[in-house]
């Protein structure tokens, strides 16, 4: 019998769905109100954040299918910040292309709701539904500029790859169910902890679900879609896509890693996941160096960053999980900050966003360039920015766990990555303006998004212990 506590557990999601419903209705019946769609989205996200922070958190809810606690609050807050910033920057971007409709924002909100469900589910049924809500909304968002070839191509590619990954996840869940008789991750973990034999069916099932998540994270060797989809999608969608599905998929992997106690289950997981992590870092960083389009470069950078975050998933435990949570928070703000400036510094959505087009902008658009530089320094892991703190916690947890090779290879990779991030800063400030100055977008709203993100990057970088102590409380609940 559902109780009021169950309703409290999903109150933020309910507010989001209601907001999206209103947006769709406005689109259909009151087209004149369309121009407030953006503000309405911001209001909805803020309302959901209020519900998240103000309402009590009952812990297990919906007969143990979901969990509403500090962990889900922390992740959901990151997701809401992401959707808030992305829809804020989407307004001017869509208006320039004359494409502003409520359905864009409604789809963004639906995708966020799916990600929040994924992050707070401990049963694979709501988790799978959340995954699909997130993915199906994103297929449409990628192809939102359906008369622009690259956008349509991005949508089609993401659809084929995403549906392929979803089928793998579904079959993997079927195998996990066959091996344990349940679809609840925690119950599966208790069955295994009770000394039940690990069958090949269980291993195959877990491998397929983990593979499905690796697709969402764009981890090597499941990364091939990322550069094309990042480049082709409208930039606010790219910003969203680079953060929200990844945060949700990381939490899912963490839940499995802790419930199954994968670290102590055998060396094969550490080796397999370690190779995936180091492979993603190396491939992402090396291929990013030769990219000319900044969105493609950030796609490879995202592959590498998820490689670092995977190190935290391998370590698991309180230390690893809290490091991953800090990483999610830091990655969210620095990536969205970078994409906000990119959406500002582009002529239109069909042309490639060449890094060389940024030449000299450091002096003609000083504030936007400063925000981009802060994001780049942070992504490179330069102190005192958020990216440094995030990497520090990850590598420290790996060293403490005795996985020194993972930490060493990760640090070497961060050093390689500094080259291409700092090259962007170099081009911004050291190269002269080209003779034909590109006709870039001017928008206060996008500038504000970049400013807020940059401020958060600096804040997390200067006071990482605030985020870390919250992450630690959340991680303890996860491990218990």
């Amino acid at each position: 019998m559902p109780t009021q506590a169950d309703l409290f557990a999903v109150a933020p999601e309910l507010i989001l769905i209601a907001g999206a419903g209103v947006l769709l209705l406005i689109d259909a019946f009151a087209p004149k109100l369309r121009q407030i769609s953006s503000e309405l989205t911001l209001l909805t996200a803020a309302g959901a954040a209020w519900a998240l922070l103000a309402l009590p958190h009952p812990g297990a809810a919906w007969s143990g299918m979901m969990r509403s606690d500090t962990l889900s609050v922390l992740v959901s807050l990151c997701l809401l910040v992401a959707v808030f910033l992305c829809s804020w920057m989407a307004g001017p971007y869509l208006r320039r292309a004359n494409k502003e409709t409520g359905e864009f924002y409604a789809l963004l909100i639906f995708a966020t709701t799916g990600a929040m469900f994924m992050a707070s589910s401990i049963d694979l049924l709501p988790l799978f539904l959340g995954l699909e809500l997130l993915s199906v909304a994103l297929y449409v968002l990628n192809a939102f500029f359906k008369d622009v070839d690259v956008s349509l191509e991005a949508g089609l590619k993401y659809f084929i790859v995403g549906a392929f990954a979803a089928a793998f996840t579904a079959y993997g869940i079927a195998l996990l169910y066959g091996a344990t008789g349940t679809t609840n991750i925690e119950v599966m973990g208790r069955t295994l902890g009770g000394g039940a034999a690990v069958s090949p069916v269980l291993i195959a099932g877990f491998a397929m679900v983990a593979g499905g998540m690796a697709f969402k994270l764009a981890l090597f060797p499941f990364h091939a879609w990322a550069p094309d989809v990042y480049q082709g999608s409208p930039t606010p969608v790219t910003a969203f896509l680079s953060v929200v599905p990844k945060a949700a998929a990381l939490i899912v992997l963490l839940r499995f890693a802790i419930a199954f106690d994968l670290l102590h289950m055998g060396h094969s997981w550490v080796w397999a996941a370690g190779i995936v992590a180091v492979g993603s870092q190396t491939l992402g960083n090396i291929v990013a160096i030769v990219q000319r389009d900044i969105k493609r470069m950030l796609a490879y950078s995202g592959i590498a960053h998820m490689g670092y975050a995977m190190v935290g998933v391998i370590v698991a435990g309180t230390a690893g999980s809290s490091a991953v949570l800090v990483y999610i928070a830091a990655y969210t703000v620095m990536n969205i900050g970078a994409f906000a400036v990119i959406s500002l510094m582009s002529e239109n959505e069909a042309e490639p966003h060449l890094i060389t087009d940024l030449a000299g902008q450091g002096w003609s658009r000083p504030l936007a360039a400063l925000a981009l530089s802060i994001s780049m320094f942070s992504l490179a892991g330069v102190p005192p920015f958020a990216g440094f703190a995030a990497k520090f916690f990850i590598f420290r947890s790996a060293v403490n766990q005795g996985l020194i090779w993972l930490a060493v290879l990760g640090v070497i990779n961060s050093l390689i990555s500094a080259f291409y991030y700092l090259r962007v800063v170099y081009i911004l400030y050291m190269k002269p303006l080209p003779r034909r100055v590109p006709d870039f977008l001017r928008s206060r709203a996008i500038g504000a998004v970049a400013g807020v993100s940059a401020a958060l990057v600096v804040l997390i970088g200067l006071y990482p212990t605030w985020v870390f102590s919250a992450a630690r409380t959340a991680a303890k609940l996860l491990v218990r």
Partner: protein, 114 residues
């Protein structure tokens, strides 16, 4: 023994689902026509349904595990619904592609590469 009396072992159904899944996966990787890819994707999702059904069938057979059967059977309905949602969006994308390119050969979409 009379074959009409022997139930089909649930493992056979599972093997069938695995074979269908592999056929679907190969189809997605090798076919270039949008609709063929789409059919292969549906085959993969529905093979997962068949796997759920076979496991639920096995759990229902023994009284100790009969309570587990429902978990899998419920999942099937949700996968059917999800597959329908994916179909709606996927077909819409292919229609949008056809309007621009007059073809649904996915190899014709390769601008994003350099």
């Amino acid at each position: 023994m009379n074959p009409t009396m022997i139930p089909i072992p649930s493992a056979w159904i599972l093997y069938l689902s695995a074979v269908l899944f592999v056929i679907g996966a190969i189809g997605v990787l090798l076919r270039r026509n949008g609709i063929s890819i789409f059919l292969a994707l549906e085959l993969m999702l529905n093979s997962a349904n068949l796997a759920f059904a076979s496991f639920a069938f096995r759990f229902a057979g023994a009284s100790a595990t009969a309570a587990h059967a429902l978990n899998g059977q419920i999942f099937i309905f949700f996968i059917i619904a999800v597959a329908a949602a994916e179909a709606a969006v996927g077909l819409a994308l292919f229609i949008a592609m056809y309007r621009r390119k007059e073809t649904i050969d996915v190899d014709r979409f390769n601008i994003l590469r350099w």
